[in-house]
Symmetry: C2
Subunit: 234 residues, 2 copies
DNA sequence: GGCTTGTCAAGAGCACTGCTCTCGTTTGTT
DNA sequence: AACAAACGAGAGCAGTGCTCTTGACAAGCC
């Protein structure tokens, strides 16, 4: 629905093309100067047109940013999908590690885009409908791995206690929507694992481990492997 | 060194006072419009002076932001310190929970300031010397609790394997600087716990658990309690 | 006392931003 | 061919960070 696969008229085609070009230039500017340095006028200048013309394609600067956000979510989710689906289905620990590593690799390669989606929210708030679907893709991949891991009723032993009552409804909703069959306790542990993954990447990219960890890749691998063990994978 | 305790001349005193006033107004604007909406001219306007005058106190907008960042680090660390030190020393799980809860409470009360220090880095990069010391305070408090927990040689059993070689030097440096006596494995687990704490708060504040978790406080408590158990506290 | 020196607020100005509006032109449809 | 929608260009508004100059004031030295 976002990208018309077959634009009928010539106008529609050149419009789709120019929309793509604007986003490409904007993405490049984003990578160079960060989200604050993204200037609609500079994008227009680089494309050889006048600033007001860009407003025919994106009604505001924030809309351009939102489009880049959606693209970033889709891009990182594609990378995770591709990496995870290349691993033998029965190798649960391998799938988990592949997915997490792909997420980190993409983040390291696109730090500003990562900051856009997992850092501080920039403008007021996101347009929910556009972003939630692509944003949910990575957690869904991870949950699928965990569902496979507990498929035969072999739920791993978790050290921590039962979840408190206020969380029951939330976890039930999550289970019904995305991960049928997973226990409350295990689902909560999965939620924490998702936060661990993002927290670890953010720490690295935002410099919170500066002068503490030097070999980020080894650190990431070790920690995420431990999380996988905790979740009962391999 | 930042705040002269006794400014000698009258000029120095009124300067210190005005510096404080500028930061206060800036902090208020930050809380209202976010870091992108912090305008030096607006701050000057609210203080009834002209924009160029502010530059006598802060050489650039980013310097004002950096000052706010240092203040935020100090502020949240003070909150954590106060909460943790109010708990009986032998109640390790209580100290852990109190520290973590204080961090979350401060973050929820000052979301924009939290985003400033734990979200995406805004300008180019931080002035390291000014920020690293206040930034390290919270992890140091947490490490102190963990050092007390393993004081009697009673290191808890950790499920995951030994740390790989590339991390040995990093962990040794960390141990020598901040936590003598903690094993590599335990220290690595502590690092992960620190990332978990920040990851959990960031997920809540940045809306990544929207429509998933509703009772954030219960969720936070449960997860952090589990982390404490994992670390061998109570 | 007077005089120099440094600090300060004010103002004008530069280059830039997001965004709006109008004005012709081009394009696709009827 | 006629019409309406879409489009690019340009001018313009209000706002921004930041620089430079000017004049007022206070602190320290003779």
């Amino acid at each position: 629905m976002t990208a018309d696969s077959a634009p009928r008229t010539a106008r529609a085609r050149v419009r789709a093309e120019l929309t793509r070009e604007i986003k490409d230039v904007a993405r490049r500017q984003l990578a160079e100067h960060g989200s604050a340095g993204l200037s609609l006028r500079a994008v227009a200048r680089e494309l050889g047109m006048v600033s007001s013309a860009v407003y025919r394609y994106f009604p505001s600067r924030d809309d351009l940013l939102t489009a880049l956000i959606v693209d970033a979510y889709t891009d990182i989710a594609d990378a995770v999908d591709a990496a995870e689906s290349g691993v033998r289905r029965s190798d649960l620990a391998g799938r988990w590690l592949a997915a997490c590593r792909a997420a980190r690799r993409w983040a390291v390669a696109h730090p500003h885009e990562y900051a856009l989606i997992f850092g501080s929210p920039v403008p007021g708030y996101r347009a929910p409908t556009d972003t939630v679907d692509p944003a949910a893709r990575i957690p869904l991949v991870l949950l699928a791995i965990l569902a496979d891991a507990t498929g035969g009723g072999r739920a791993p032993a978790l050290a921590h206690g039962p979840v408190p009552r206020p969380l029951h409804a939330d976890l039930k909703r999550l289970r019904d929507a995305a991960a049928p069959g997973l226990s409350d306790r295990y689902l909560a542990r999965a939620l924490m694992a998702w936060a661990q993954l993002v927290g670890l990447i953010s720490f690295e990219l935002f410099g919170h481990l500066h002068n503490v960890v030097t070999d980020y890749e080894a650190h990431f691998d070790y920690q995420l492997r431990a999380v996988g063990l905790d979740l009962g994978l391999g």
